[in-house]
Amino acid sequence: MGNKRIINILKKEWHVQSRDLNSILFVTLLPLLIIGQALLIIWLVERFGGEAILANSVFQGAIENLRDALPAVSGLGIEGQLQVFLLSQMNVYLLIIPTMIAISFATFSIVDEKLSGSLEALLATPVRTWELLLSKALAGAIPALLVTWVCALVLILGVVGIGWGQTVNMIVTPSLFLSIFLLTPAVALLSFLLGVIGSSRAKDARSAQNIVLAIIFPVLAIIGLQVSGLIWLTPLLTLGLALGVAVLDVFILRIAVRLFQRESIVVKWH
């Protein structure tokens, strides 16, 4: 993107982020904890709950979907199929990471500038509203995405570490790549855009957090439903979802620009 004003904002945002040790730690540790927990749960379920799950009708339905989408799994025993099914759920975790980060960070993006008064000075420059909002969202979404990619790597390495190496190549499919490199970025941007909307409508950091939670929660719920294993994400479905979310991103950015009321932003705050 050759937009000088967007790059200018990104550079400043990242400069600020890079000096904030607390948030760096938070942004990297939290996702790794989530991934660690995901690995632990997968391991526990496989180790102690296997029998019960294998007997469950929901699981049997899901396994049928899995066999349809991925005929190769039929070659594995039922245990192996369970492993593949559980691993395929890591999409959920990976998708949720940027959204989690957005809840805590996008919240402050606009409200901080409002409170310090720098926002009015910013609005007096030739920057366009959409450039300001998009770059605020990108400034969070891009690092969040990088963290997510690191997590994906950790997850795969972790799975190999558990000793499920042979099932990993079942999971590392075109779907996973499409999910990680298209769907997750689109969802990450969506979460941050929603966060920026919340932040631009709020009068202080606390109410921003409430607004952001209220608007991001439905997104989380939708992601959860979409990917909760009842739907097996084929490459085509993943691609379709990614495109759908990308279109939604553009739409949400337009709404964000409309909702960004300068009148309410430049009132006196003290």
């Binding site: 000075a121 030739p126 366009r128």
Partner: protein, 308 residues
């Protein structure tokens, strides 16, 4: 040539009118003072002129552009010193300036930053975090920010508010320097001395524009100059003789002192002296009383209060 024009600018917030039917013009190179009490709508007007918020009705033309229609293009040509300096406190002065300058095109950022930081006496502190700056330093830094891209019109919203006398003095010197260089400045203030000192013309505002003229003309048109005559032997006959003179419009007595309003003091003052002496009056002193801008301002604002 007018570089700032307002035509019936009006702004209402949820039914409350902050600025009403404001029309004025500011010429290129002029320092225009926008004077009014708290809540008069100064900041709101500046925000409308600078394309930060849109008017409810009416419109403006600044540097040939409509602030409500193409704010981003306008911003290329104006500088705004906001009421509150607003910097990123955790970043250095230089980083802050570089960031804000990064939105404009067509000038050498490093060169401009150095020039204005030196001019404002902040060059030595350029690598320090803005959070460590005093209020006066932040205000000067904000002035630098507003000037970097060499705007055609500089909007200053209460540039000396909250500064100690010395810091305020420095900022005023700066504005005078800019004025000498031909910079157009639109300055809001509730400080009369400042308006009188810096501005070529002054608009007095309180939701509506109450008066607009040079400081000198404001005085003249609002108050006829008064002649004060002190007599050794005031007596009723003498007083009624003076009051009966054709060029005397008004007479007030306070002990031996008489305050007279003449149709034209320049022409009739010698006449007055002669007539008093001829009527047997013994004059101890004759002087003229001028009103400060403060009186004018207060009387304008009070007049408005009484009529409203």
């Amino acid at each position: 040539m007018a570089i700032v024009e307002a035509h019936g600018l009006t702004k209402a917030f949820d039914g409350f009118t902050a600025v009403s039917g404001l029309s004025l013009e500011v010429a290129e190179g002029e320092v225009f003072g926008f004077l009014g009490p708290n809540g008069a709508g100064k900041t709101t007007t500046i925000r409308m002129l600078a394309g930060i918020i849109a008017p409810t009705s009416g419109h403006a033309v600044v540097a040939g552009l409509r602030p409500d229609l193409e704010p981003e293009n306008l911003h290329q040509h104006i500088g705004l010193l906001t009421e509150n300096p607003g910097f990123y406190n955790r970043l250095s002065a230089r980083f802050n300036l570089g960031f804000f300058a990064g939105f404009y095109s067509g000038f050498d950022i490093d060169h401009q930053v150095e020039k204005y930081l030196r001019m404002m006496g902040l060059w030595e502190r350029r690598e320090d975090k803005v959070g460590t700056f005093s209020k006066g330093m932040k205000q000067r830094l904000a002035l630098v920010r507003a000037l970097l891209h060499q705007p055609k019109v500089l909007f200053l919203d209460e540039p000396t508010a909250g500064l100690d006398p010395e810091a305020a003095h420095e900022v005023r010197d700066m504005i005078q320097e800019l004025s000498v260089e031909g910079q157009t400045v639109f300055l809001s203030t509730h400080n009369l001395v400042e308006a009188e000192l810096l501005c070529h013309r002054i608009g007095v505002v309180r939701t509506e524009l109450l008066a607009l003229d040079t400081p000198e003309n404001l005085r003249r048109s609002l108050f006829r100059r008064q002649v004060v005559v002190e007599l050794e032997n005031p007596n009723p006959t003498l007083v009624s003789t003076i009051a009966g003179l054709p060029f005397v419009q008004k007479i007030e007595q306070a002990g031996n002192q008489f305050r007279l309003e003449l149709t034209d003091p320049e022409v009739y003052r010698p006449e007055l002296v002669k007539d008093i002496v001829e009527a047997g009056g013994r004059i101890m002193s004759v002087s003229e009383e001028r009103h400060s801008l403060e009186d004018i301002y207060l009387s304008l604002v009070r007049e408005e209060e009484n009529s409203g």
